[in-house]
């Protein structure tokens, strides 16, 4: 019985943290459209992009717990890279649902960072749902508009949800190929790109069997490392606020000596801790393919979204006016929290999924 990461996993965490502290610079990525190719290459060289991809497909074959460790550090460093889209979601979709040929074609490239893949399901306002998908595939050609697509500005491959002969299914689409037009959207988090993609007869190849159930099972799996990214962000926002509360003096004493600030920070610690514990549960469920994966993933997602939003908001409040300036990083965490809150579907979707699991249990 040991409900914690192993010593090796903790060592990995420290290593990734050091690397990202040195190389991740969210601000410099803003001008570059929300991606840092050099950082991405560095992560690939360390084997982080394919950490959960089996060695036979060019990955490190380490496992899901390791993937979660890296995701947390990406969140904490606010790393401006499409890690959650490509290394967590897309790689997992292809690994779980892809044909042998598809795995061999794409996983090595996702692992070595030479290709970036993203998930494109949403078409306008509202969470993705079967009755909201108008994009169609017919004769191997995809037509429709997907918006917004997270990290879509820097992606090579799209995993696109569309309506085919057998109903809603997933399709692989080369985003550098014919029939694909992208236009940039203004992102709440300028360290991550957001685009609209217009498909006009783009060649599309089915990924796995059709059916929305499959998509949902995939999303559960992708939600786990995403929750870790949020937990990392929440923790860092809490740390920033704590450090500032110790440093900033008002009325002749550190503002962290005022109960209003102390208790705000204590509440942040509580929500960050609950989120972390749920994320650990989900990581265990993912790594062991436990029957409760759906419930654990939804719990982790609900809890992490609440915690990151709460910590990012209060981090600004503790910083006062300074927290609202462009120069302080507080607003970047606040923006990232808003972005991740609805990536993969907003809170209501995960709340409903969680309750559905509880009723079924």
């Amino acid at each position: 019985m040991n409900f914690d990461f192993s010593d090796e996993q903790r060592e990995l965490r420290d290593q990734v943290r050091r690397f990202l502290a040195q190389h991740a610079s969210p601000r410099s990525a803003i001008a570059a459209g929300g991606h840092d190719p050099a950082l991405w290459r560095g992560m690939a060289e360390l084997g982080l992009l394919g950490i959960a991809i089996p060695e036979e497909y060019g990955g490190a074959g380490a496992g899901y717990l390791e993937l979660c460790v890296v995701a947390e550090e990406v969140g904490r460093a606010l790393a401006p890279v499409p890690f959650s889209s490509s290394a967590c979601l897309a790689a997992e979709f292809i690994l779980q649902a892809g044909s042998e040929a598809q795995k061999r074609a794409w996983l090595p490239r996702l692992a070595d960072g030479t290709a970036i893949a993203v998930f494109a399901a949403v078409e306008g306002v509202g969470d993705a749902a079967p009755d909201r998908i108008a994009a169609t595939v017919s004769g191997g050609r995809l037509t429709g508009i997907k918006s917004p697509v997270l990290d879509g500005g820097v992606a090579d491959l799209g995993i696109v949800a569309a309506r085919g002969a057998d109903g809603i299914g997933l399709y692989l689409v080369d985003l550098r190929g014919a029939g694909v037009a992208r236009s940039g959207l203004d992102s709440m988090d300028p360290t991550r790109s957001l685009v609209e993609i217009r498909f006009e007869g783009a060649p599309a190849e089915p990924l796995g069997e059709a059916g929305w159930d499959t998509v949902e099972r995939m999303l559960d799996r992708a939600a786990v490392p995403l929750a870790f990214e949020q937990v990392g962000g929440a923790d860092r926002a809490l740390e920033m606020a704590r450090d500032y509360a110790l440093e900033r003096v008002a009325f002749g004493r550190p503002i962290g000596s005022f109960q209003a600030v102390k208790h705000m920070l204590a509440d942040m610690y509580v929500s960050a801790t609950l989120a972390r514990s749920n994320a650990y549960w989900a990581a265990w469920a993912l790594a062991t393919d436990a029957a409760e994966l759906g419930q654990a993933a939804a719990s982790a997602r609900v809890s992490a979204t609440e915690a990151f939003g709460h910590c990012a908001r209060n981090n600004i409040q503790v910083h006062g006016g300074m927290g609202f300036t462009w120069e302080f990083d507080c607003h970047l965490f606040y923006r990232r929290a808003a972005l991740l809150a609805t990536a993969l579907g907003g809170p209501a979707l995960w709340e409903d999924r969680l309750v559905a699991q509880l009723r079924a249990a």
Partner: protein, 406 residues
């Protein structure tokens, strides 16, 4: 309890309405209505020029700074008349944001502490929008703890020489004059060593830099002072009395009652009642209704709390610190509303530029500017409920011996 005007009030309202009908710049109406939260922009004219023109027109007809004496450019109107005017001016009051600090805080301070000649020189052009004023109080190292400011003013002949830095100054770059709180004696406890001045913002040594905000806007400035000379004649109050002068200024801030802070609720209600492509509107969901109802009740609660303040004022009571409620509730509410709207949009909430996205990014500032949520709760607890002040470790300590940041 009634919302009807008395006969005098009705007469005043009719007069105001008639003048407004003949004079409001209707060409800006559409732009003013559609301006997103916190940003007013006109398509065909510079907002500063338009604001000044409208203020000038009001002043010429006796409708500027209603509660100021006529001699200084006002109308000598009652508080209730001022509220009626606000109601009638409606959307066009958005053109006055440039003057809020000058009319609400700088003017009253000048009125209370300057000499007669100065008042006649400075107040009428301020009322008429010909000259813009700003307020130079906050500093990087002192936000909530205003009396901890460090900008030094040292006497030199008939002048004072000022060095230091101010921050969060609205419209500094557009201002002709400013009121400036400085430290003139660091060897006495912090509240006792302050002195207030007013100065020409174009004095040599004044440098203004915009502050870029987390939401990308730049509503405020930093103002640097390097050997700026201010004549002693522009001192407001006696040396060392600056804290009580500043309290006068801040007290006047509370007089801007009747105006309810924006909460985002009307926008949210409209959004939730608008059906999507599938014909369903967010309000069809009971979770959404529950939140809407709570916000609606808070929103009307704020509106009628303001009405009660107006009634209290018309009975001759000063508006009290209970008005701190408005900003405390509105700031949090806007942040909640914006966050929930983004949730309801799903991933589309990630796209910046919409009204709720703008609220989401701007609302953290509302919870800080002009008093943080925490300071407002302290004000309510201490001044309304009579609870003890926080323990002060710096109260009787000479300023230069107090612990400071860093």
């Amino acid at each position: 309890m009634d919302f009807d005007d008395t006969a005098e009030e009705a007469a005043f309202r009719a007069e105001a309405r008639a003048w407004l009908r003949a004079n409001v710049p209707t060409e800006y109406e559409a732009d003013l209505r559609s301006s997103p939260f916190g940003r007013i922009a006109l398509r065909n004219r510079d907002i500063v020029a338009a604001s000044k023109a409208w203020q000038k027109r009001k002043a010429e007809a006796g409708w500027a700074c209603l509660h100021w004496p006529k001699d200084y450019g006002g109308r000598g109107a009652s508080p209730i008349e001022r509220v009626i005017w606000q109601q009638e001016e409606g959307i066009y009051s958005k053109l006055s944001s440039l003057f809020i600090v000058g009319h609400g805080m700088c003017g009253p301070t000048v009125m209370a502490y300057a000499d007669e000649a100065q008042k006649r020189r400075y107040l009428p052009p301020l009322a008429a929008g010909e000259e813009i004023w700003c307020q130079l109080f906050s500093e990087p190292a002192c936000g909530s703890d205003l009396a901890g400011l460090r900008t030094r003013a040292e006497p030199d002949g008939d002048d004072w020489v000022v060095n230091g830095q101010k921050i969060w100054t609205s419209h500094a770059h557009l201002s002709d004059y400013g009121i400036l709180l400085t430290r003139t004696d660091p060897t006495v406890p912090k509240h006792k060593g302050l002195t207030m001045f007013f100065l020409d913002m174009r004095s040599p040594g004044v440098e203004i830099r915009p502050i870029r905000q987390g939401d990308g806007q730049a509503e405020f400035n930093e103002v640097y002072f390097t050997d700026v000379r201010i004549p002693d004649a522009q001192r407001l109050g006696r040396p060392g009395e600056g804290w009580s002068v500043a309290l006068t200024t801040l007290m006047n801030e509370r007089l801007s009652i009747g105006a309810v802070m924006p909460t985002g609720f009307p926008e949210m209600l409209a959004f939730c009642c608008t059906p999507g492509p599938d014909g369903r509107a967010p309000v069809d969901d009971s979770a959404v209704r529950k939140r809407l109802a709570r916000w609606a009740a808070r929103s009307s609660g704020l509106r009628f709390t303001a009405q009660r303040s107006i009634s209290a004022m018309s009975r001759g009571n000063m508006p009290g610190p209970e008005n701190s409620i408005g900003k405390l509730v509105a700031g949090t509410m806007m942040q909640e509303i914006a966050g929930y709207a983004l949730e309801l949009m799903g991933p589309a909430g990630m796209i910046a530029g919409g009204q709720f996205q703008a609220m989401m990014l701007r609302s953290p500032a509302t919870r800080v500017e002009g008093g943080t949520d925490e300071i407002l709760r302290n004000i309510i607890a201490e001044r309304v409920l009579g609870l003890p002040a926080d323990i002060r470790v710096d109260k009787d300590v000479p300023f230069n011996q107090i612990a400071r940041t860093g």
